[in-house]
Amino acid sequence: MMTFAELKKGMSARIVEIPSVGDDHRRLMEMGLVKDTEFRVIKVAPLGDPIEIDLRGYRLCLRKQEMTGFGVEVL
């Protein structure tokens, strides 16, 4: 299992762990980042953060540091 911060451009991954319930993460889950969601890393911003991912047919940018509770598995 890895964290979001360890992902590299072009990798495909699946969310395998979600932080224990808290309101901060609820919003991310509502954007579609629920368990077993597969996504692809499209790009990392020039200054190293945020990262752009493709999930559920759309593009979302997230800050690595705010994704620390999520566990992912590279496909």
Binding site: D49, G57, Y58, L62
Partner: protein, 680 residues
């Protein structure tokens, strides 16, 4: 309550789903922009007829979810629950899976729903097929396909709204609301018919008295309440499992494409680690260069126009000096001082609409987030902050590109620290009089640059402290959607500009005019009787005698540690309506009278200015201190009026004024202190 046939129709949808385009198509220039009471969220609405119904269309701010995490969402939920007869849910067909998440929550509000399906052309051009009938069946409500740019589907949508107002459909629900239905049946049996949506609101309302006559239904009521409460918090995974299934069934996907989409190809350059930043710098340079050069001639025309108006009215009112001065120096100057901001505001919002409409704004925020994010702002703050270097008024208004309310407030609070163009005349006067003649062009240029850098440098710790102090508390995680690129529609761009202009003139503008007149009165009254002095001396004597001059003298001891005498403090006070007026005020205070000629001589005059005891007034620390004071203070009525309007509170402009004045004072004092240390 209005008549039975008056209906409120709320338009709800994800950001970038095409909701505003649809709303503009339906309502055009009939839109009214107001504020919801007590919050910063704007209420955009328009009246129009739908068949036999008189309707109010309400444009609810773009949302991803109904779980009220931010102010926008809390307002949206309130609007949907309390003042809506029908919801038009705008869904992006090319992004069905995520858009349906919000739909599934809206359906559970149990209000009649009509789905407007946008971007259907995008689905088809990607080679997929949309099965509309299937989608209608899965959602259980009318689904009207729209082709936004061509206004196709508008007629059908209105027909569907009318039909649903008469006989609403029952959408598919993901949450168990069986208990609510049971309660509805029980109440109906006792002769009380309620729509399920009204009943839902009633059970969630702790003050409801509906159940009082039916004690035996109390348990059923409690169960219904629990079901309604749980529905909002249905696990997102459950909803996404459903939306993914609907997506699979309603859109027949062609073979996955190997070629990159147009958006991906554009992004290869625009978010590239080297070219992306270069393009960003070039775009921003072009935008602000255009704002500066395009607004100058219009501002000149406006200033000239109001000056001309004053000059033709002035002689006609000569017989009544009070009225003459009130009209020319108070009213016309005040209104002119408001209208002069319009070119910048309109041009800036033209570019914002273009950047937002094409999808580039999101890319720029992606590139800039790291730079602005570490101190508590986010990538979107670059537009308001950069525009504040021209003028804080459009800058503060531009902060509405930031959806996160706390980051937006932080941006608004520091935007006026950026050195705006109205501070320039002050810098030029001081630098031209004290720095350039003595130290040469290099240090003059350096001083000007340093003054512009000062606000930016001070803003960083201010944001840092704000985030740990006043704006402390829960924050939404940063989420930025990168929508596919598209051509913006002119109608949307111009309606956006028009609305911003109207809002500025009607709300902030009126405050500015009233305050300008008050400041005028403070420097006009009480009148000193004619003393037979020369014109310039009489103007000085009058100002000294007026409320303004008296206040200036009264606060002299406060400003004395900064090396400012009563003339400087009066000039600062009288510059409250507009910073640049400090220069003509100094002209009067150093007995030159007003006018261009006087301003030209002002530099010479202030060099010779002395304290009563003969010491030089404008020493180097005092001169630099005055510039620092102006760089950091909030001596700008218009900015405060706009902050009041944009934050919809009196607290924040007051807070801004206080903290900036304290900073300005400390800054100028610090310069004096350095001066003393270096001298000894």
């Amino acid at each position: 309550m209005a008549s039975k046939s008056f209906k409120r129709i709320a338009f709800v949808g994800n950001p970038n789903a095409g909701k505003t385009t649809l709303f503009n198509s339906l309502t055009g220039s009939r839109q009214k922009v107001g504020n919801y009471a007590g919050v910063t969220v704007e209420r955009v609405s328009a009246l129009r007829q739908v068949g036999t119904f008189d309707c109010e269309f309400i444009d609810v701010p773009g949302l991803y979810s109904l779980t009220p995490a931010s102010e926008d969402e809390a307002v949206a939920v309130r609007v949907l629950e309390e003042e809506t007869d029908l919801v038009v849910c705008v869904i992006d067909a090319s992004n069905l899976e995520r858009n349906l998440f919000l739909y599934s929550q809206i359906a559970e509000l149990l209000r009649p729903v009509v789905v407007a399906l946008t971007m259907t052309d995008r689905v088809e051009s990607a080679g997929s097929m949309l099965k509309l009938d299937r989608l209608r069946r899965l959602l259980g409500c009318p689904v009207i396909p729209m082709v936004g740019h061509k206004e196709k589907g508008v007629k059908e949508l209105l027909a569907a709204i009318e039909a649903s107002l008469a006989a609403p459909a029952e959408p598919t629900l993901l949450s168990d609301i069986g208990a609510l239905r049971e309660l509805q049946v029980e109440l109906a049996r006792r002769g009380y018919d309620h729509r399920i949506g009204d009943l839902r609101r009633e059970v969630l309302d702790d003050q409801s008295t509906m159940i009082v006559p039916f004690a035996e239904l109390r348990p059923a009521w409690e169960k219904a309440k629990e079901a309604a409460e749980n529905a909002t918090f249905t696990d997102p995974s459950t909803r996404y499992a459903w939306t993914a299934q609907v997506q699979r069934e309603a859109i027949v996907q062609s073979a996955p494409k190997k070629v990159l989409s147009l958006t991906d190809r554009i992004d290869k350059v625009l978010t590239h680690r080297v070219f992306g930043l270069m393009v960003f710098a070039a775009v921003m340079y072009c935008v602000f260069f255009a704002i500066y050069t395009l607004s100058q001639p219009f501002m000149g025309l406006i200033e000239g126009g109001f000056g001309w108006l004053g000059s033709i009215l002035s002689p006609r009112l000569e017989s009544i000096p009070v009225l003459q001065s009130f009209v020319v120096d108070g009213l016309i100057a005040g209104v002119g001082g408001v209208v002069v901001f319009l070119p910048q505001i309109l041009i800036l919002f033209f570019f914002i609409a273009m950047l937002e409409g094409t999808g580039y704004l999101a890319r720029a925020a992606f590139l800039m987030d790291r730079l602005l994010g570490w101190c508590g702002l986010n990538g979107r703050a670059f537009i308001p902050l950069l525009s504040s270097f021209a003028c804080a008024i459009p800058g503060v208004m531009a902060a509405r590109v930031m959806p996160d309310p706390k980051a937006r407030l932080a941006t608004i609070l520091v935007a006026p620290l950026m050195s705006c163009s109205a501070r320039l005349p002050v810098y030029m006067l001081i630098i031209g009089s004290f720095i350039e003649p003595q130290y040469g062009a290099f240090w003059a240029g350096f001083a000007l640059f340093a003054m512009h850098l000062l606000g930016l440098v001070v803003a960083i710790p201010v944001v840092f402290i704000l985030n740990r102090g006043v704006l402390k508390g829960k924050r939404l995680p940063f989420m930025l959607e990168l929508p596919p690129y598209q051509m913006p529609r002119w109608k949307d761009v111009f309606l956006g500009m028009l609305n911003r202009g109207k809002v500025f003139l009607t709300t902030a503008g009126t405050t500015i005019v009233v305050m300008s007149v008050i400041i005028w009165a403070a420097s006009y009254f009480p009148r000193k009787v004619d003393t037979g002095l020369a014109e310039s001396d009489a103007a000085l004597a009058q100002l000294e005698y007026s409320v303004m001059g008296r206040v200036g003298k009264a606060v002299e001891p406060v400003f004395a540690p900064l090396g400012f005498d009563w003339r400087i403090s009066t000039a600062i006070l009288s510059a409250f309506p507009a910073r640049e007026t400090v220069v003509p005020s100094l002209g009067i205070l150093f007995s030159l009278g007003s006018g261009d000629e006087a301003e030209a001589k002002l530099g010479e005059k202030i060099k010779e200015a002395k304290w009563p005891d003969g010491k030089k007034l404008f020493t180097l620390p005092t001169s630099i201190g005055l510039m620092v004071f102006f760089a950091l203070c909030a001596q700008c009525l218009s900015t405060l009026a706009v902050v009041r309007r944009e934050t919809n509170s009196r607290k924040w402009p007051l807070f801004m004024f206080t903290y900036m004045t304290v900073l300005a004072y400390l800054g100028a004092w610090f310069v004096q202190w350095i001066g003393r240390v270096l001298a000894s």
